[in-house]
Symmetry: C2
Subunit: 165 residues, 2 copies
DNA sequence: CCTGAAATCGTCGTTGC
DNA sequence: GCAACGACGATTTCAGG
């Protein structure tokens, strides 16, 4: 699929907001909230799906209530030739929920989720084989999963005079 | 709601796996995949919802295709009395997708998402008012949103002899 | 937990603006 | 090109065993 960025109007963003809040809204209810007929919203939603803006629909599982209350961030500075991304497959580390390549000193940023401190310790030991770790245990999460929102209309974030400050 | 951790059997985990992959599965299709009748799976799903294991159903929006291709992690070391958590409301920073309180040196870990480098620069300047920043721009994301999976049956991650190594 | 029937919803083709 | 109307098919839900 070619990567074309669709032009989203206000109605599209309204639809995205509703479906990010409740992915199981019927086209009937969704149509009422955005002031469109059910077939009209169905058409728009289908276009959003086909263009990839809507990547899918997921049930959100509360990890704590599913028996995995501990999470952490792990910055990795991979040993040359032993980078986690190249020497292992994702199935070897089911506790790793996300892997991001970073700029800067750290090679990658990992997000992990485990059942207990014992699991976390064991995971850190296994990850340590692949490089230098910098771990941050999450004490609590203020919020996450905030919906993607339309960019601010005043697109210019700061006004500065030319030259160095 | 009291925080009771439900006992999930193999069928529950199977249901959770399917609904995390596709949150819009009908009870008909879901029943076929887990070998249950539609009313039976509907009952199980309803119990999972009411117990909070299933926190909700969300449409997953691809931020890049929605015009916000840049993301970053921000570790904050809040200035005393100016902690971001206490002096601002979340609406003041719509670019912040997640806020986690951390152990260790950093006060909090933020996950941010913006439309351009100019936005990112402006956001960093605004966040800088609240404490010391340590920013990590994401170059690419290997994967994220991996589903919550059942804990491994061999719950003991490592075997070690007593005493210091 | 499975089988049947009624109500609701999604889908499709058509028409009108 | 987009939105509203109407009929068919599927799904959800409730009753009973």
């Amino acid at each position: 699929m070619t990567f074309q960025e669709r032009n989203l109007d206000a109605t599209d963003w309204q639809i995205l907001a509703e479906l990010q809040a409740d992915g199981r809204l019927s086209y009937n209810q969704l149509g009422k909230r955005v002031n469109l007929s059910p077939p009209a919203v169905a058409d728009r939603v289908r276009r959003l799906e086909e263009s990839g803006v809507i990547a899918g629909y997921r049930a959100e599982v509360d990890p704590a209530r599913a028996g995995q209350p501990l999470s952490a961030f792990v910055q990795m500075r991979c040993t040359t030739g032993r980078c986690l991304l190249k020497t292992t497959r994702s199935e070897d580390f089911p506790e790793v929920l996300e892997i991001h390549k970073l700029s800067g000193n750290s090679c990658t940023m990992l997000r992990v989720r485990v059942a207990s401190m014992l699991h976390l310790e064991g995971l850190f030991e296994r990850l340590g084989e692949h490089g230098e770790l910098n771990t941050h245990v999450v004490l609590s999460t203020e919020f996450e999963g905030r919906p993607v929102q339309p960019p601010a209309s005043d697109a210019r974030p700061v006004t500065r005079s030319a030259g160095w400050s």
